[in-house]
């Protein structure tokens, strides 16, 4: 702490930093002296020096990339995600500043809570003329179903976020409220973790408050709100799904808070309760932390077109059999048109003055406000009155005359649909641009609160979005180019609280059970299949590529033909390819192979398969370890990168890619074998892999061995390679290649993890451990698994290799049976465990 007394007027790191005249700087006071509370941080940063900071900056970017942190700029507009960019410099808030913000934000959250209680209850704000009825009854989001939906006393807001800006005089202003399902908490966590890793020194030296107690309180609030089983209620985080902009954060928060991640289709209303559909059946849910918009939560009573909600949910809430947080209808409190009335509402409801003022806002439905707005149009930004960012705010000063006239026409025609907001000269923060360049960028801040008893608790931290463009952030809080972590100066020694659990609470010992959502199980099953499909194809391609680029010899043509047939049978190349005369097709092979591999029109092509692996891995991201997910996501990234220049890809390049695929799958396999607990998650992943491998191996054997090649040795050798069994074979039989021992090794040798019998033994074991198994009568999946297992176990290698009229009929029949029956096995497992009922439909109203 003694460093804080040093004077750092000649800060080398910030020597070139030029704060903007006339705006507040968060780090430097006038005369380029750091604010007192920033001195330890500045000192520590100076000690590190510019190169260390550059390195930290690169490491931060790397960490965020590795963790797959993506972000969507305009989160309500479905723009494609881009990597999250975190600036390596933090924003510091002093203890006193935070104290002020804490008090003021708690008051603001309390006010909005009371506004909701009133509007969904007595409506004194209307009868006493504090709010005009236009913005309540005329609000398209005021579903009448929200009125008196939940009992008095139950919290309306469990999470609240305020967007803030600081004016040149250092005062704070609220630029917006978020009361629906505020986003950003996941990013705050991720930012903090990254910052503490890349700048451990400054992180310690700055003496800042920890975030974990806030999240512990959030969990506590949700737990307490449960209608029953308050000691350990089942809570889910209801996400809009992998296509939604906040999915990364949903996954992150669900995992951090320890809740099941669910989508609308995972939940169902049965017997008046909300149930989670799991492998083991339906499990009742007590609390839903929702990321789905209010109106989309229930197609029966709210927006009938919604596919993200749960049919019948509103009735369950009404009967107090489930709690939704934030409460349904809470979105109303963030209505931009409410802002001009909050000052009076605060006096009216709380009998206090509003401590944190809103930025000047005019609701154009008021004729006086409208005429002011029309007179000062170029100084204001215009946005929709009812829904935050249903369309982005517009800036009339940047418009063409024609566009401005059109806007004026809209304002006059439907004034009540618009609000106008003053612009603010936002404060700046130093942003590290690398190699010593530090520039002042403007900042928008998002602060978070969570319910705490009758009051709220403020997160001692936050999210800063920064931009060199002083107006960009007025359009959207999320528009900035980078984020900064907000650090709050600690009151004393930093307490170390971990969210994980209070260490003295005794825990009930448990094993993960059958509460895996069916959709997750389905995705895991297919992930297993796709991974195996990629591996199987990659191994065959590797063999083919070795032969294509290898030295020519007289027998090569024989096995090339056979291999092409195998590739065609596996769906990797067009069947026509294989039957063409070898002489004609061979010259094209080098050109055509990459084309086939990258053909995403073909669903079984290697690239399509890898893409599918990546999509499935994303959708079960919360079920995989970070390492496992990262392995697959990197593989997909490599493929996407190489895909950009397919035409230039030679067979060496393709070999590299194929090899990398095999390595990644092996790595993933190792991780899942060694690190995954043997729950249903693991079992479905495994089942998928085993079933796919049966199909794959049977197809390979049928396409290569049923019609014996002459000579057959090269085919046998490549087959053993493709099935990763060459080493075992050589150990046993040295260099002598014969069909019978090969078939023995690949079909009936239960000690070979690549043999068909080995797969079928595993499959049988897995299906017998599924939730409904082991009942008096075998299920169709169990019966099928058993019959395939027995057929292979009873097969006799000598008989399988018997040749009759230039063919091996017994082998053909057995392989055909496996090829036909494995899809049926897959279907019967799906039907028993995985299929859920499909999309909800509406009655054609009469």
């Amino acid at each position: 702490m003694s460093e804080s007394l040093e004077l750092v007027t000649e800060a080398p790191l910030f020597a070139g930093y030029q704060p903007v005249d006339g705006v507040f700087d968060e780090l430097f006071a006038p005369l380029r002296e750091p604010h007192a509370h920033c001195r330890p941080l500045v000192n520590e940063l100076n000690r590190l020096g510019r190169e260390e900071l550059d390195q930290a900056s690169r490491r931060a970017a790397q960490l965020l990339r590795d963790n797959g942190v993506t972000f969507n700029a305009y989160d309500e507009h479905g723009e494609s995600s881009r990597p999250w960019q975190l600036d390596v410099l933090p924003t510091m808030l002093s203890r006193t500043e935070f104290q002020f913000l804490d008090t003021a934000l708690i008051q603001r959250a309390t006010l909005l809570e009371h506004v909701l209680v009133d509007l969904f209850g007595e409506q004194r704000l209307l009868s006493e003329k504090v709010l005009p009825p236009d913005i309540v009854f005329g609000h398209p989001g005021f579903h009448r179903a929200y009125h008196q939906l939940q009992p008095v006393g139950l919290r309306r807001l469990t999470v609240y976020a305020a967007d803030l800006a600081r004016s040149p005089d250092g005062r704070w202003w609220a630029t917006g409220d978020r009361t629906r399902a505020p986003s950003g908490l996941g990013f705050v966590l991720e930012n903090r973790i990254v910052m503490s890793r890349v700048l451990p020194g400054p992180f310690r030296a700055a003496g800042i408050r920890r975030l974990a107690p806030f999240f512990a309180q959030l969990r506590e609030s949700l737990r307490e709100s449960a209608p029953r089983f308050r000691d350990n209620p089942r809570i889910v985080l209801l996400s809009r799904g992998p296509d939604s902009a906040t999915y990364f954060e949903d996954v992150y928060l669900a995992r951090y808070l320890g809740y099941t991640l669910a989508e609308g289709g995972d939940l169902a209303v049965r017997e008046g309760r909300v149930m989670l559909k799991t492998l083991g059946g339906l499990l009742p849910i007590e609390v839903i932390l929702r990321r789905v918009s209010d109106d989309d939560c229930d197609p029966v009573e709210l927006n009938p077109a919604s596919l993200t909600g749960v049919s019948g949910l509103v009735d369950v809430v009404r009967n107090q059999n489930v709690v939704v947080a934030n409460s349904l209808g809470s979105r109303l409190a963030e209505t931009p048109a409410f802002v001009p009335f909050l000052r009076n509402a605060c006096r009216f409801l709380l009998d206090e003055d509003l401590k944190l003022p809103s930025i000047a806002t005019w609701w154009c439905g008021d004729p006086t406000a409208l005429s002011y707005v029309l007179d000062h149009l170029n100084e204001l930004i215009i946005q929709p009155a009812f829904f935050v960012h249903s369309t982005l705010p517009v800036d009339p000063s940047l418009m063409t005359n024609a566009a401005r006239e059109k806007l004026i026409g809209q304002l006059r025609a439907r004034p009540a649909d618009f609000v106008a907001q003053e612009r603010i000269a936002r404060s700046t923060v130093p942003v590290w641009l690398g190699e010593g360049r530090v520039e002042p960028w403007h900042a928008a801040f998002r602060m978070f609160l969570t319910a705490d008893g009758d009051s709220f608790q403020t997160l001692p931290g936050g999210l800063a979005r920064v931009s060199p463009d002083r107006y960009l952030l007025d359009r959207s809080m999320t528009a900035g180019q980078r984020a900064q972590d907000v650090w709050v100066e600690s009151d004393g020694p930093v307490e170390t609280v971990t969210l994980l659990r209070s260490p003295d609470t005794p825990l009930t010992l448990m094993r993960s059970g059958n509460d895996l959502p069916s959709r997750d199980a389905d995705n895991l099953f297919w992930l297993g299949r796709m991974i195996e499909r990629a591996d199987g194809a990659a191994r065959v391609f590797r063999v083919v590529l070795q032969r294509v680029s290898g030295s020519e010899d007289e027998t090569s043509e024989v096995y090339r033909g056979t291999l092409l047939r195998a590739l065609a049978a596996l769906g990797q190349i067009e069947p026509g390819f294989a039957v063409l005369g070898l002489q004609e097709s061979m010259p094209d092979l080098e050109h055509n192979l990459p084309q086939a591999v990258f053909n995403t029109q073909e669903s079984r092509s290697l690239k399509s398969t890898v893409q599918e692996v990546s999509r499935l891995a994303d959708s079960v991201r919360d079920r995989l370890s970070l390492d496992a997910w990262r392995t697959l996501s990197k593989l997909a990234a490599t493929w996407n990168l190489s895909g950009r220049r397919v035409s230039q890809l030679d067979s060496a390049g393709l070999s590299g890619l194929v090899q990398q695929t095999i390595n990644s799958v092996a790595l993933f396999g190792g991780l899942s074998n060694e690190s995954m607990t043997r729950t249903q998650v693991w079992r479905f992943l495994e089942l998928g892999r085993r079933i796919e491998r049966v199909w794959n191996t049977a197809t390979l054997l049928q396409s290569t061995l049923v019609t014996p090649a002459v000579p057959e040795q090269p085919v046998l050798e490549t087959l053993l390679e493709a099935c990763d069994s060459i080493l075992t074979y050589r150990t046993r039989y040295l260099a002598t290649l014969q069909a019978e021992p090969v078939v023995d090794l690949l079909v009936v040798d239960a000690t070979n993890p690549r043999s068909l019998l080995f797969q079928l033994e595993r499959i049988q074991e897995h299906v017998s451990h599924l939730p409904f198994a082991a009942q008096a009568v075998l299920g169709p999946d169990e019966r099928l698994a058993l019959s395939l297992h027995n057929a292979v176990q009873l097969a006799e290698p000598h008989e399988l290799c018997r040749i009759e009229l230039d063919e091996r009929p017994t082998l053909d029949r057995l392989m055909q049976r496996l090829i036909d029956q494995t899809p049926r096995l897959s279907e019967s497992i799906s039907q028993r465990y995985l299929i859920h009922a499909g999309l909800p439909r509406r009655f054609g109203e009469d």
């Binding site: 179903a145 049965r270 197609p299 009735d315």
Partner: protein, 293 residues
């Protein structure tokens, strides 16, 4: 005094089994100044474990139920008995000037402004607009009593619109019905409501039944009746007055209300979501039988 027995039966048939459905019904006639519902019975096949009853924001009775078992057919039959008393409709010329109503509600100065003001804003189906102003302006010269203007408006709709059951659907918007000058009772009511609200006059949507009187010499056809829709306009101290643009009349003993709200979306008789089902067909029958006169 007239008593009616009303049987409203709706049935859905599916080509594939439906494992789950959730439904909300608004099928119970509601008490109004001139009607009283003396009994209401609901029969649902297959029968649900429980039916949950509540009043909605507008005071309509909502009955909701779920089915969790496979079914290929769902039948909902509501049987109600209603007593109707002839009402005295206010004299149109005795109602306040429409401009005073509009100003009084907008400026929150008339009695009851709080309870009626929500019926001057846009609602899910009805959006105010200048086309409605143009259509309605000759019915509402300055100073005209509100009910006189509203009757003129509904007469104008009756006169200029063609009744065509095939031209529109439940989701047709009033501006489209106005442009095409055709539709059914629901469209006529929506258009009238849109006109009134554009002028700032509170107007609400009413769903209900209409007693049909068979032509002379014919017997009443059982089940040939239909559910009907009209609107109510707010006449200040005179309260809500129901008007039927389809039949160009002020509602009296022949109209039996079920529910009211801002527009059709607030009062749809059956709202629900089901899963599966393949193709489905719907049949509805309504029978309004006078019990004694």
């Amino acid at each position: 005094m007239t008593k009616y027995r009303i049987v409203h039966s709706t049935s859905y048939q599916y080509s594939e089994p439906v494992p789950v459905c959730h439904n909300q019904l608004r099928l119970s006639p509601r008490d109004a100044t001139w009607t009283q519902c003396t009994s209401h019975r609901l029969m649902i096949r297959p029968s649900p474990e429980s039916i949950f009853r509540r009043k909605d924001w507008f005071g309509n009775l909502v009955e909701s139920f779920s089915l969790d078992e496979n079914h290929r057919k769902l039948t909902v039959t509501a049987t109600s008995r209603v007593t109707v008393n002839p009402q005295t409709v206010p004299q149109p010329d005795q109602t306040p000037a429409w401009g005073d109503i509009a100003t009084g509600v907008r400026e929150r100065t008339v009695d009851d402004w709080l309870s009626v003001c929500e019926f001057i804003f846009d609602s899910p189906v009805v959006t105010r607009g200048s086309v409605f102003q143009e259509f309605a302006s000759d019915c509402f010269p300055p100073g005209r009593p509100v009910l006189a203007g509203a009757i003129a408006l509904t007469s104008k709709i009756h006169r200029e619109f063609k009744y065509d059951a095939r031209a529109t659907t439940v989701t047709t918007r009033p501006e489209d019905a106005l442009a095409a000058r055709h539709g059914v009772c629901q469209d006529f009511a929506h258009v009238a409501i849109a006109c009134l609200r554009t002028l700032g006059i509170p107007a609400r949507y009413v769903s209900g039944y209409l007693r049909t009187i068979p032509p002379p010499g014919k017997t009443r056809l059982v089940g040939a009746d239909a559910s009907h829709a009209w609107l109510a306009v707010w006449g200040g101290a005179a309260g809500w007055i129901d008007l039927d643009p389809t039949n160009d009349c002020v509602c009296s003993i022949d109209h039996i209300p079920i529910a009211w709200g801002r527009d059709y979306s607030d009062v749809a008789p059956i709202r629900g979501v089901f899963i599966g089902g393949g193709q489905h067909t719907l049949s509805v029958s309504v029978d309004v039988e006078p019990l004694e006169t």
